[in-house]
Subunit: 290 residues, 2 copies
């Protein structure tokens, strides 16, 4: 009886395969806005604290919290409005005891203040005065310096696949021009078999089938972040097989050949990989050259 293949369970096959796939794709610098789905090549550290200044998380009034202790609807705290924090500028007006300064969400906490009362918990009272109807604790509604990210902190580790929120974090820290990511691995795809015709073939002759592995695997590569290249259909002929694979080898991080990996005399993938002298793994009908 002909010999059966020794096959591995998928998890083991995957481990064998991964052990042969070295990190050989190299690094390139790209803008974070182009980096969705790419993989960081090194840890990204924060060059600054975020936020860089204490800022309000609400629309309201910057106050000294102690001035509001005990305030309620029936017994409001009365504060004098000493000015307004302009957006995008330093707070110039300080908050003294008994005073409040109008502030907007994201505005810089002015000197002297340690909390912000939500505008919804205040009421204008006559000229330049407000009633505060709820007390605030020190620090309430204030985002402190470095509360999101401290300077030097690792924002993203190496080997991390970049998500939309990661891009936001990089932009927030001014890492907007370029970051180091792993180059997309170049994957050259071949399908093999005399029965195969290009998928655009309209009328099949008896015995012919369309090559779908190239397109399907190319799509899987795209989804996984690789750069696939469909190199076409290999005939069941040893020299053509060898020539096509040898020609692709210098350009590729990975050659993937589908079919041609069984025990028939027409199955040339394993033999061709051996002849190429490149490390190769035969996986479930898919031969991969890392």
């Amino acid at each position: 009886m002909a010999e059966f293949f020794n096959v591995l369970p998928p998890a083991e096959a995957r481990a064998v395969w991964l052990a042969q796939v070295a990190h050989r794709a190299g690094v390139e610098l790209i803008a974070p806005l182009e980096a969705l789905g790419r993989v960081t090549a090194q840890p990204l550290l924060s060059p600054e604290a975020l936020p860089a200044f204490a800022r309000s998380t609400v629309d309201g009034y910057a106050v000294r919290a102690a001035d509001t202790f005990g305030a309620s609807d029936s017994l409001p705290a009365y504060l004098t409005v000493a000015g307004e924090v302009p957006m995008g500028q330093a707070a110039s007006v300080a908050v003294a005891k008994g005073q409040a300064v109008l502030i907007h969400t994201g505005g810089m906490i002015p000197p002297g203040a340690d909390a912000v009362v939500m505008v919804e918990h205040t009421q204008l009272f006559g000229d330049g005065e407000i009633e505060v109807l709820r007390p605030v604790a020190p620090g309430e509604n204030v985002l402190q310096v470095g509360e999101d990210v401290v300077m030097g902190a690792e924002v993203l580790p190496a080997g991390h696949r970049i998500q939309p929120q990661d891009i936001g974090a990089l932009l927030a820290l001014g890492l907007a021009s370029e970051i180091a990511v792993v180059r997309r691995p170049r994957v050259c795809l071949f399908s093999s078999g005399d029965e195969l015709v290009p998928p655009s073939t309209r009328d099949l002759k008896p015995g012919q089938i369309r090559d779908i592995n190239s397109g399907t695997i190319a799509s899987l590569c795209l989804q996984a972040g690789a750069a696939p290249e469909i190199r076409g259909i290999l005939p069941d002929e040893a020299e053509a097989f060898y020539d096509a694979l040898a020609a692709a080898l210098p350009d590729a991080d990975l050659l993937v050949v589908t079919a041609g990996s069984s025990v028939s005399v027409r199955d040339m993938t394993a033999r061709t990989i051996n002849r190429l002298g490149a490390p190769g793994v035969l996986v479930h009908g898919v031969a991969v050259r890392p």
Copy 2:
């Protein structure tokens, strides 16, 4: 006390929003190989049966199953090899009683045969004869006509996001040149606030923060299959706000404005949407114009 917003739980807000987003993006024709992640605009029906001919799922010998009944290691069935099915061509040799025809995986089942014996269950025996060591049932190791897809079957429904395996199915059926997909919705993005500066700004002045919403939401749009366009930062100034949104309206399927949606006098998103006369939804600080 100032009035609080009436806010909706996320699921309700999403329903309100989706009810306003009509399917207005239109349809375009693209090649299946470009269609990963795109959404089908109409159901795709199979123009043919798959497979179009009965084919072998293994390397082995096409036989009449009845000729192998009772075969075992100790009492093999002896069959005469009548020829070979060439790959990619019609099977020309018929299988008569007592005969076998060499066949490869994917090869067309020859007339007369109704099963395939795996090569691993056979042994060459002298000249042009084989021993069959295991019986096969009729239909064993044969993929019948239309077993994957019958002609006219719905391969993909309308509104389906196309995955790698879907692309394989389309190619298999010869739907390789173009398919109808929903055009990517064009989303114009604005951030608003005098405190905002472009994320490329290196040294922030006190009170300034970098615009990260545009880049983050653009990345979320890309991930969701939309075509985002970052239109920049709007100042807290009603006319500039209106002019920028009005200019973007003809180009866009969606305008997204972040911030400017609270109760402060500087919050101009809702007012601007009303003034534009376009349907708009204020969502959690994100105003969307479907």
